[in-house]
Symmetry: C2
Subunit: 171 residues, 2 copies
DNA sequence: CTGCTATCTTGTCAATGGCAAGATCGGCCA
DNA sequence: TGGCCGATCTTGCCATTGACAAGATAGCAG
């Protein structure tokens, strides 16, 4: 039987992200993941160690992509907030694990550098620490509530914009 | 052997809440729960149906308590925000499941009425819908980020107050 | 006392996460 | 060229778990 020689690690992380987006982190099965990738049930363990390792890789991937999205949004606080919300809505699988320490290996090196990158992208936007925390809180809160269905509407951007503007306006 | 005749259902929900607070929703084991309560491994199923049923009961309990906390906080938006954050920090097990639809029976009757109670308590605070959403987002976001460790400090209230004030100040 | 219902039990099963040991592959160096 | 070696992936196994089915017990109504 021929072995799998593609980039199995990346295939697994992306598959895991979509699975988490569909069924939540608790619904993720390593064996199901392996089945879909066409490999044996023990293949994930080699690359990630355990289940938390898979989710840690997903989270690290998410923070990296978030850092890029925030950087691309520029210096405007409102634009950055919208980019944050859009990232969460477009990558629900990543977002669902990124801030849940109970699912991750919090001391993973790759994760920490990715977190740092996103954190740095955030810190550069606001004038002081409280303003940064406030902006981060609104964007994060709105994204979470939207994903949970607590806030809903026809368009995310249209719903988020007035909420985020209210925060960006304050000095 | 004598059967358990106390209020097993309530004992389970509170035990489940503390277990979730310690190990996250994914780490919750119905059998471990039953063991701690001194009942058989199938006892939880009778009261809650399945695992999601247990977490649904925890979430409903959380929304009920949240509604009380918000009502007690009065009409001030800042006070309500602080009460929201304090509730999340004081009841991390409840908060962790309340907004995660993937863990719950979203159509549960008890859950829906509890959600409604909390939602009503929130809606009465702000002048318009956007203001309510904004206040909710900041409080929810700050609480989430604090619980995840992304924002930290010596005292929650001291850290939250300037952030929430920034939102409450805007008309 | 008898029957009824809610509560709790034992018994069982498939699925899962994780570990150990072995097989295969691809590249590196003599 | 040919053999070695580490990385990758496999098979085999085990304890734990969630869920279901069927039975036992307790307390209450009549």
């Amino acid at each position: 039987m021929s072995y799998h020689h593609g980039d199995l690690r990346r295939a697994m992380t992306t598959a895991a992200a979509t699975a988490v987006a569909e069924q939540g982190p608790a619904g993720l099965s390593l064996r199901e993941l392996a089945r879909r990738a066409g490999v044996s049930h023990a293949a994930p363990a080699h690359h990630f160690g355990d289940k938390a390792g898979v989710l840690t890789a997903v989270a690290a991937d998410g923070f990296t992509q978030l850092a890029v999205a925030l950087t691309e949004a520029g210096d405007d606080l409102l634009a950055a907030g919208l980019a944050y919300v859009r990232f969460a809505v477009d990558h629900p699988g990543h977002f669902a694990v990124m801030f849940d320490r109970s699912l991750l290996h919090a001391d993973d090196a790759e994760l920490r550098t990715a977190e740092r990158a996103a954190s740095d992208a955030l810190a550069g936007l606001a004038s002081d620490a409280d303003a940064a925390r406030a902006a981060w809180s609104v964007a994060h809160g709105f994204a979470s509530l939207w994903l949970s269905g607590a806030i809903s509407g026809p368009d995310v951007g249209a719903a988020a914009e007035p909420v985020l503007r209210r925060m960006a306006a304050t000095p």
